[in-house]
């Protein structure tokens, strides 16, 4: 044996009441290596990170740093051992300046015991230079972009002499430019001899950065291979435990008559006027950059935002949606972008979440009194049809995985049988197995004659499931692409306005 690896985990296991989170897991990280850790949600990645961060201690197995066994019993111990974890939610104070954040917890004092502000600022400069600079130490952290905040957090880790840096889905909230900057920073840190554990669902990133790739499934180690020896399909197969020969599902027939027809719809400000037709049994993709007005358009159609211009017809009948309840009564359903902030009642049961719509509550109550039998039947139908994995219909929604939570949101709308369903980023934050199931559900709905509009920033998904693609730019529909012409390039050209002349 030559030099021992920077970090080695051997036979590590961890159980929580009722759940075996990790079983006999092996993981090695060398200095100067980017090691990607992949797996579906619930595969055990978070548990592993939390062990490294000192949040959880393993039930069995050993963790070695430089070949010496260590026990990481608390977060401070992790810092002392040179382990830093950059979580998806950043661990900084948004109301303080960059310099104050970098000094947090170890502020230098003057001889009088007061804060040594000039030294805090001086040291901040030095720390920021090590990660590329370009950030003003006096800026209030909350005013920086998420990407910049992340760089600050990395600077803090580097300043604490971290040798093992864990990045948990670092690009989830970054723009393309910010992500590029992060990638070069990652490469720099690798060059400087740090070991990086890189967790991401995004294949391109993993292929761009990782030296080796380890896949977990259901709390088990599935395999570790050098990047060059793995095809993306192999990784997916390892993650889901089977080959997903066709991730996207499209088994429906030709669309029927027009169900929703919008003419010149707009909010009188930045959105519209938009003309739009959705046919029964059709899945229409709505692409575009973030901020192009896709969610706003969906909310205008649904009645969640005030329509100032244009006309709307559903099923041939002119309608005006002044509120979401109007939209629902006129046969429209809307699955918003953020399921936790805009859709779910996390402390309520699956059953109550499914029945809670203006119309759903009408249907399960008589004179305002809820009928449990009807509620139970309704929920059971959706749980079966959508294959929601739960212990019972009375389980709290907060306890479900992201994919199952999203199915509950879908179930809420399916239960009231809308004619038009507007889905805003329906697979965001959902693991690949659940994505596939959601595509099946969308396809099934289309086969049953629902008109579906899907907003997605995931281009392969948008192209994979749509019958045609609309591209929005600056609040208007810039292009309509039939399935044959819808390529990633074409969508991006119209989304960014490069193809403006043709739009």
């Amino acid at each position: 044996m030559s030099t021992p690896p920077l970090l080695r985990m051997t036979g590590v296991g961890k159980a929580f009441p009722g759940v075996q989170a990790l079983t006999d897991v092996h993981f090695e990280l060398h200095a100067g290596e980017v090691h990607a850790l992949m797996g579906e949600n619930g595969a055990g990645k978070s548990t592993l990170i939390k062990m490294l961060a000192g949040v959880h201690t393993p039930d069995s197995g050993t963790i070695e740093i430089d070949g010496r066994p260590v026990s990481i019993t608390n977060p401070q111990r992790a810092v002392d051992l040179g382990i830093a974890v950059i979580h998806q939610e950043l661990n900084l104070a948004p109301n303080l300046t960059v310099a104050q954040n970098l000094a947090l917890g170890r502020e230098p004092r003057t001889r009088l015991g007061l804060l040594d502000r000039s030294r805090i600022r001086r040291e901040a400069h030095a720390k920021l230079d090590r990660v590329g600079g370009g950030i003003d130490p006096d800026a209030v952290l909350g005013t920086l972009s998420v990407g910049m905040q992340q760089v600050v957090e990395i600077a803090r880790a580097v300043a604490q002499n971290a040798r093992v840096l864990v990045l948990d889905e670092p690009t989830a909230a970054l723009s393309e430019a910010e992500a590029q900057r992060l990638f070069s920073l990652v490469e720099e840190m690798r060059g400087a001899g740090m070991g990086l554990v890189y967790i991401s669902h995004r294949m391109e990133e993993v292929y761009r950065l990782a030296d080796r790739i380890t896949v977990f499934r259901d709390g088990h180690w599935v395999g570790t291979s050098p990047r060059a020896e793995l095809e993306p399909e192999d990784i997916v197969a390892r993650m889901v435990g089977r080959t997903l020969d066709d991730l996207y599902v499209r088994e429906r027939h030709d669309p029927g008559e027009v169900v929703l027809e919008a003419e010149g719809i707009g909010d009188g400000a930045g959105i519209g006027p938009v003309d739009l037709r959705l046919r029964a049994g059709e899945v229409v993709g709505l692409g575009g950059l973030i901020g192009a007005g896709r969610s706003e358009l969906a909310q205008l159609l649904f009645g969640a935002q005030r329509v100032r211009t244009g006309r709307l017809r559903v099923g041939g009948r002119a309608v005006v949606n002044r509120s979401p309840l109007d939209g629902i009564r006129n046969g429209i359903g809307y699955v918003p972008e953020s399921r936790k902030e805009q859709a779910l009642f996390l402390d309520m049961s699956i059953r109550d979440n499914v029945v809670t719509t203006g119309l759903g509550l009408d249907q399960v109550s008589d004179f305002g009194v809820l009928r449990r039998g009807r509620m139970t039947r309704r929920v059971a139908t959706q749980i079966d049809a959508l294959r929601v994995r739960c212990s019972s219909a009375l389980q709290r929604v907060a306890e479900l995985s992201g994919g199952n939570q999203q199915k509950v949101v879908l179930g809420r709308w399916l239960a009231i049988a809308p004619r038009v369903l507007l889905l805003d980023e329906p697979t965001r934050g959902v693991d690949i197995g659940a994505k596939h199931e959601i595509y099946r559900i969308i396809d099934r709905l289309a086969r049953e004659g629902v008109a579906v509009l899907v907003i997605s920033s995931d281009l392969p998904e948008l192209l994979g499931i749509s019958d045609r693609v609309l591209v929005m730019r600056n609040g208007a529909v810039a292009a309509e692409l039939p399935r044959e012409e819808a390529t990633e390039e074409a969508v991006m050209l119209h989304a960014t306005g490069v193809a403006a002349g043709s739009g």
């Binding site: 548990t47 959880h56 393993p58 009564r329 859709a343 996390l346 402390d347």
Partner: protein
């Protein structure tokens, strides 16, 4: 070498949150505490008082406690709904005074008892409607709107009585305060009836589901087509009606309209709700637990009184118990996090 020594212990209760469903994975004791902990505190307190205070556990005294606590409990019932929607109603104490006075004024004006009682409750509901409309439709903060209510309703109470108690020795509905039904004091019967109704409303009606939904996630409720504003208005109307009911009982009990009635009662009501474990963040809580919270406060007051604890100390102990109870309650969340 392994690290089993520490983590191999059974039931690592505190660490489940990371991956396992927090509640499903929690050991039985924690779940029992979640559900019945506050009831245990009440029982413990009763046992303690029974040992310490003479005559505590007598038939008469038990009813005394319940009757004394009933007004706070009635205010707290409405307050529970308000807090469930992430709101607060600071005006209920002053509203109580106005409604009590109105019911006495109606009596002196010659109206039959039933209309006096109904009138008092209706006035309370009306001020609740005003609160609710300002909060829901003008999107004003509940704290400010009802803080204003606390002040202008107190002023109204003084204005209606010219600052003097409004005596009514022949008050027709005095049984609302001092009567008995089958040996149980009327205020206690009314209180229990109210809680039964609100329990049913929260648990078995669509309105109840809407209240929890709005408290849990107002934006999600709106996007699900719930009439958020209208539901909020109804919640404040209920809180106002509860204040009206409490005011009528108060007046019946003292057979007069008191302009100073109900001062700081809003704080006791909030304390009872919080003692019962209802989250100030909204969406979590039940009225039955609020009732237990109100009873804990009642038992404490009564016990301290029987033990001849000086009033100043009573206040200090009561305040301490409230903070302590909430601290114990939040401890379980803290361990989980």
């Amino acid at each position: 070498m392994t690290e089993t020594s520490r983590a191999g212990k059974p039931a690592p209760t505190t660490e489940a949150a990371g991956i396992a469903p927090p509640r499903a994975g929690r050991p039985r004791f924690a779940r029992l505490w979640d559900r019945y902990g506050i009831l245990g505190v009440l029982v413990l307190m009763i046992v303690l008082m029974a040992v310490l205070a003479p005559n505590f556990l007598t038939f008469t005294n038990v009813f005394n406690i319940a009757r004394a606590a009933s007004i706070n409990a009635i205010l707290a019932a409405g307050m529970t709904l308000v807090i469930l929607t992430r709101g607060i109603d600071l005006s209920v104490g002053s509203n109580l005074a106005v409604c009590g006075i109105v019911s006495v004024l109606l009596w002196t004006a010659g109206l039959p008892s039933v209309l006096c009682v109904a009138g008092g409750i209706a006035v309370g509901a009306l001020f609740g409607l005003l609160n609710g409309a300002l909060i829901a439709y003008l999107a004003l903060p509940a704290f400010i709107v009802t803080l204003g209510g606390l002040t202008y309703l107190r002023g109204t109470a003084y204005l209606l009585t010219d600052g003097q108690p409004l005596l009514a020795d022949d008050l027709g509905f005095r049984l609302m305060g001092s009567g008995f039904i089958a040996g149980v004091p009327v205020p206690v019967v009314v209180m229990l009836g109210l809680y039964l109704v609100l329990w049913f409303v929260l648990r078995h009606t669509r309105f109840g589901t809407e209240v929890y939904a709005i408290g849990g996630n107002p934006e999600a409720a709106r996007l699900a087509g719930i009439k958020v504003k209208w539901t909020l208005v109804r919640v404040y109307v209920i809180a106002g009606a509860c204040a009206g009911l409490a005011g009528v009982i108060f007046s019946a009990r003292v057979m007069s309209g008191q302009p100073t009635a109900g001062e700081t009662y809003e704080l006791d009501a909030i304390a009872a709700v919080v003692l019962g474990g209802t989250s100030l963040m909204g969406g979590i809580g039940t009225v039955q637990r609020t009732l237990i919270g109100a009873m804990i406060m009642g038992v404490l007051s009564n016990g301290l009184l029987l033990m001849n604890v000086p009033y100043f100390y009573q206040l200090i102990i009561k305040g301490g118990v409230i903070v302590l109870a909430v601290a114990i309650d939040s401890l379980k969340n803290w361990k989980r996090a």
